[in-house]
C-alpha cells in the first residue's frame, strides 16, 4: 500500500465515505506514515479554513434590485394574469406597479408625427425670453449608500436599473491600472429616464465633466458632477411635478427624453420641455448659474434633433408637422430662423445636421435614401442646395474639417460637397456603393462600410480594406488614431495612421455587441453586450468584466472627474 494509493483515498477517508474494509486499510497506512499524516492534517486544516471564512452579507440594495426589477414586475403581472384567467368571471386583478423605466422603450416606439398643424405660439414666450427655474442642490450619499466624491479621472457612465452608474477607468491605488467597480452616481430616490454627459474640454472651472439626467418620477432635470457631487435640479422637462406614463408615452414626453444636448464647450445644456398644453419648447441652461433661456417659441408638434454650433452660440432643431419637416435655427442674440428642411422632396426628414462656423448644413432623407444636402449661412434665411435636385445618395457624413464637408456615396463612387466651394465633386470609385460613412474626428480619413467590408479612405492615401464580415458600424476613437468595429463574435481594434492600419487587435468571444465606447484617453474600449459590459485595454493586455448585467438601452459614455 503506497502513499500514492492512500493519498487517492485520503479525502474520502476524512469524509468517512469509504467502505469499512478500505477505511480500515487507509487508516492503518496513515497511522504508520508521517507524510500521509501530515497531509491529512493539512486537508483538515484547509477544510477548517474554508468552513470558517467570514460570511459576506448581501446589501439591502440587492433585495431592492431584485424585487423592484422589471423582471420581477413582469413575473408578478404574469402570475396575476394567470390567476385571473384560471377562474372565469372574477374581477380583474390589481395591476402591479410599473416601473417608469419600462415606459421609456415604449415611448421610443411612438412615432413623432402628430399630424397637428405647426403652430408657433408667438407671444406665449418671446424669442430668447428667460424663464426662472429654481435651482436646488441635493445631498446624496451619506452612510451606507455610496462614497462621494467618486475618484478623479476618466469614468465610464451607463444606465442600469434606472440609476446612473460610473466606473473609474483606473481604480484608485491600483498598481495594475485595473478599472474600479461600478459606483452609483444618482440617488436611490431618482428614476433616471434620460441622461447626457458633457463633452471633454468642458468650460467648467474645475475641468470636470457634468452629467445631466431626468428623473422620471418628478420630471426634474438634474446636473451632477462626474464625481457624484453637487447634484442640482436646474429645470424640469415636465409641466407637473409627478408626471405619469401619459406624459412619457406622449410625443412631447418622448421629445423631452431624447433631447438632452450639451454645447460643444460644455457651458450650456439644451433640452426640450413638455409644456402644460402638450406642446414642446427648447430651453437652454447655462452652467454658470444664469437664467434658463427658451430657444424660440413652443411648438405644438414635438421638436427634436438638437444640434449646437461649434462655438456654442447657436442651436438647430427640427419639428415635423403634417409630414413636413422644418429646420429651426436659434442664434444667441439674433432670434430664430425657420425654413423647410427640403423644399424639393415632400416628406423628407433631416438625417444629420452639421455646423461649420456660423453656417448650418444638413442632409435630408426619405425612405432611407439621402435626397438633398443644404447649407444655411449665418446671415441668410434661405438655404442653398448643394446637391443636384433629383440626386440620390446611399450614405452621407459631415465633418467640420475642410471648411465643412459632406462625403456622399452613390453609384459605386464617393463624392464630396464642400460648403466653401458649393456643388458636388467626384473623389473616388469604390466598386460597390458604401452603405455607411464615418469621417474620423479630425476629418483626415473616412471609414466606409461597403457590402460587409470595412474600408478606410483619404484623399491622399486612397482606399484600404481593413476587414470583411463586419457586423457593426465603425467607431472612431476621439483622436481618430484608432477604429473599433465588430466582426461577428470578434471586436477588432485598428490603429490607423495615414489612412492605413498599422496594428490590429482582436478580441474574440464577444457576444451580441450593442455599443462600443472609447475612453477619453483611448487606452480602454468599453463594450456593451446584450448581457454584460466589458472594459478592454486597447493594447490587448487585459479585459475586465464590469458587470454581467445589461445596461438599460444601448448608451455608454465617458466622463472625466476632477
Amino acid at each position: 500500500m503506497t502513499c500514492e494509493w492512500a493519498e487517492g483515498n485520503l479525502s474520502a477517508y476524512l469524509d468517512d465515505a469509504l467502505d469499512p474494509q478500505l477505511r480500515k486499510d487507509v487508516g492503518a497506512h496513515i497511522e504508520s506514515c508521517a507524510h500521509c499524516q501530515a497531509l491529512a492534517e493539512e486537508y483538515r486544516r484547509n477544510d477548517q479554513l474554508l468552513a470558517t471564512l467570514a460570511p459576506v452579507e448581501p446589501s439591502d440594495h440587492l433585495r431592492q434590485r431584485i424585487f423592484e426589477s422589471p423582471t420581477f414586475a413582469a413575473l408578478a403581472q404574469k402570475l396575476e394574469r394567470e390567476t385571473a384567467a384560471a377562474p372565469p368571471g372574477r374581477v380583474a386583478p390589481r395591476r402591479a406597479p410599473l416601473a417608469v423605466r419600462a415606459l421609456v422603450p415604449l415611448a421610443a416606439l411612438l412615432t413623432l408625427s402628430l399630424g397637428a398643424a405647426l403652430l408657433f405660439k408667438q407671444g406665449l414666450l418671446p424669442f430668447g425670453a428667460t424663464s426662472t427655474v429654481q435651482r436646488q442642490t441635493n445631498t446624496i450619499g451619506g452612510p451606507g449608500s455610496f462614497d462621494l466624491p467618486l475618484s478623479a479621472g476618466p469614468r465610464l457612465v451607463f444606465l442600469n436599473g434606472a440609476a446612473l452608474w460610473s466606473v473609474a477607468e483606473y481604480a484608485p491605488n491600483s498598481v495594475t491600472n485595473a478599472p474600479g467597480a461600478p459606483q452609483r452616481l444618482t440617488p436611490t430616490s431618482a428614476h433616471v429616464v434620460a441622461w447626457a454627459v458633457s463633452p471633454q474640454g468642458a468650460a467648467n472651472h474645475d475641468g470636470g465633466a457634468r452629467i445631466a439626467y431626468v428623473d422620471g418620477l418628478t420630471g426634474a432635470l438634474h446636473i451632477v458632477h462626474s464625481d457624484g457631487q453637487a447634484d442640482t435640479i436646474v429645470g424640469s422637462v415636465s409641466p407637473t411635478q409627478s408626471p405619469g406614463a401619459d406624459l412619457w408615452t406622449s410625443a412631447a414626453g418622448h421629445a423631452a427624453l431624447t433631447s438632452l444636448t450639451w454645447s460643444p464647450d460644455g457651458s450650456q445644456l439644451a433640452y426640450v420641455a413638455a409644456t402644460a398644453d402638450g406642446a414642446t419648447q427648447a430651453r437652454i441652461v447655462p452652467l454658470n448659474g444664469g437664467a434658463t433661456l427658451s430657444a424660440g417659441a413652443s411648438f405644438e408638434a414635438p421638436i427634436g434633433q438638437l444640434a449646437w454650433s461649434a462655438d456654442s452660440h447657436a442651436l438647430a432643431f427640427t419639428t415635423v408637422s403634417s409630414g413636413t419637416t422644418s429646420v429651426i435655427v436659434w442664434r444667441s442674440g439674433h432670434g430664430v430662423v425657420t425654413t423647410p428642411a427640403d423644399a424639393n422632396v415632400s416628406q423628407a426628414t433631416v438625417a444629420q445636421f452639421g455646423w461649420s462656423g456660423s453656417t448650418l448644413s444638413w442632409a435630408t432623407t426619405r425612405a432611407g435614401v439621402i435626397v438633398g444636402v443644404y447649407a444655411l449661412p449665418g446671415n441668410s434665411a434661405t438655404p442653398n442646395q448643394l446637391t443636384a435636385t433629383g440626386a440620390r445618395y446611399a450614405a452621407a457624413d459631415f465633418t467640420a474639417a475642410h471648411g465643412g464637408s459632406w462625403l456622399l456615396a452613390s453609384n459605386g463612387a464617393l463624392s464630396e460637397a464642400r460648403l466653401a466651394s458649393g456643388g458636388v465633386n467626384w473623389v473616388a470609385n469604390t466598386g460597390a456603393t458604401a452603405s455607411h460613412i464615418a469621417w474620423s474626428p479630425n476629418g483626415a480619413t473616412a471609414a466606409l462600410i461597403i457590402d460587409d467590408k470595412l474600408v478606410i479612405w483619404s484623399d491622399v492615401s486612397g482606399q484600404t480594406t481593413l476587414a470583411q464580415g463586419v457586423t457593426s458600424q465603425p467607431v472612431w476613437s476621439p483622436s481618430g488614431a484608432q477604429l473599433a468595429v465588430t466582426e461577428g463574435q470578434n471586436v477588432m481594434i485598428y490603429r490607423i495612421s495615414n489612412a492605413a492600419a498599422t496594428q490590429v487587435e482582436r478580441l474574440s468571444g464577444a457576444d451580441s455587441v450593442l455599443a462600443l465606447a472609447w475612453a477619453t484617453d483611448e487606452r480602454n474600449l468599453a463594450i456593451l453586450e446584450s448581457h454584460g459590459m466589458l472594459l478592454v485595454t486597447t493594447d490587448g493586455v487585459s479585459q475586465t468584466l464590469l458587470t454581467s448585467r445589461q445596461a438599460d438601452g444601448d448608451a455608454l459614455n465617458w466622463s472625466v472627474a476632477r
Partner: protein
C-alpha cells in the same frame, strides 16, 4: 433546511406551513383580507418569494461570491439566480428540494459567467492560435492575510472542484446533495472532492510561499 414550495396553481396558506412564521405573515394576512380574492393569492406569492429570498440570500450570495470572486459580480449573479428561480418556481413539482435546487441554479448561473470570462480574451493579431492568457488570475503579491489567500487559492482552482469543495465545507452538503446540485453521480463527488482538496492545497501553499501570507 428544505422548504416545500406549493405551486402557484394551488391555494397556498402560509398558516399551514409547518415552518416558522415570521412577523411578516401577519402583515401579509392583514393586507390579503383587504384585497380581492386574486390579490390574496398574488400577495401570498410575492410573500413566499420574499421569504425564499430572506431564507437563502446569505448562503447563496456567499456561495456565488466564493465561486466568482467578485462582490459586484456576485450581486449580479445572485439577482439572476433568484429571478430565474422565481420564474421557474410556479412550474416546479411540489416535492421540490428547494435548497439543492437553488444551489444548482446558482452553480449554473456562475458557471455561465465564468465560462464567458474565459471565452473573452485578447489574441495577438498574427498569432490567433495562441492560448488566451488567464487574465483573471490574481497577482499573488497583492494578496495578504489568510482569507485573501483562501480566496486567491479558490479562484485558481478548476470551477467544478471549487464548487464541490465550497458546498461540502461551507454549506455542509452531503455527497448526495452535492451530486444533485452539481448534476453528477454520487461516485463522482468523491473524486471531485479528492481533486479539489489536492488542488486547493497546491494553490494555497504556492501562494503562501510566494509571500502572500506574511501578514
Amino acid at each position: 433546511m428544505d422548504l416545500t414550495v406549493v405551486p402557484a396553481a394551488t391555494e397556498y396558506d402560509p398558516a399551514s406551513d409547518p415552518a416558522e412564521l415570521p412577523s411578516e405573515t401577519a402583515k401579509g394576512r392583514r393586507m390579503a383580507k383587504a384585497e380581492s380574492a386574486q390579490s390574496v393569492q398574488s400577495l401570498q406569492q410575492a410573500w413566499s418569494f420574499e421569504r425564499i429570498y430572506d431564507e437563502f440570500k446569505t448562503p447563496i450570495y456567499n456561495y456565488i461570491y466564493h465561486l466568482v470572486g467578485s462582490r459586484e459580480q456576485a450581486d449580479d449573479l445572485t439577482q439572476d439566480t433568484f429571478l430565474k428561480a422565481f420564474r421557474a418556481l410556479p412550474r416546479m413539482d411540489a416535492n421540490l428540494k428547494l435548497s439543492a435546487w437553488l444551489y444548482r441554479i446558482a452553480t449554473n448561473t456562475s458557471y455561465d459567467a465564468l465560462r464567458r470570462r474565459k471565452l473573452i480574451a485578447w489574441m495577438p493579431w498574427q498569432d490567433l492560435d495562441h492560448e488566451p492568457a488567464d487574465v483573471e488570475s490574481a497577482d499573488p503579491q497583492e494578496t495578504i492575510g489568510t482569507s485573501e489567500l483562501v480566496h486567491a487559492a479558490l479562484r485558481r482552482m478548476p470551477r467544478h472542484y471549487r464548487a464541490a469543495l465550497l458546498l461540502y465545507t461551507q454549506e455542509g452538503f452531503s455527497y448526495a446533495e452535492i451530486a444533485s446540485t452539481l448534476n453528477i453521480a454520487e461516485s463522482g463527488v468523491k473524486m471531485y472532492l479528492s481533486r479539489a482538496r489536492h488542488s486547493f492545497r497546491e494553490h494555497y501553499n504556492s501562494l503562501e510561499q510566494a509571500g502572500g501570507g506574511k501578514k
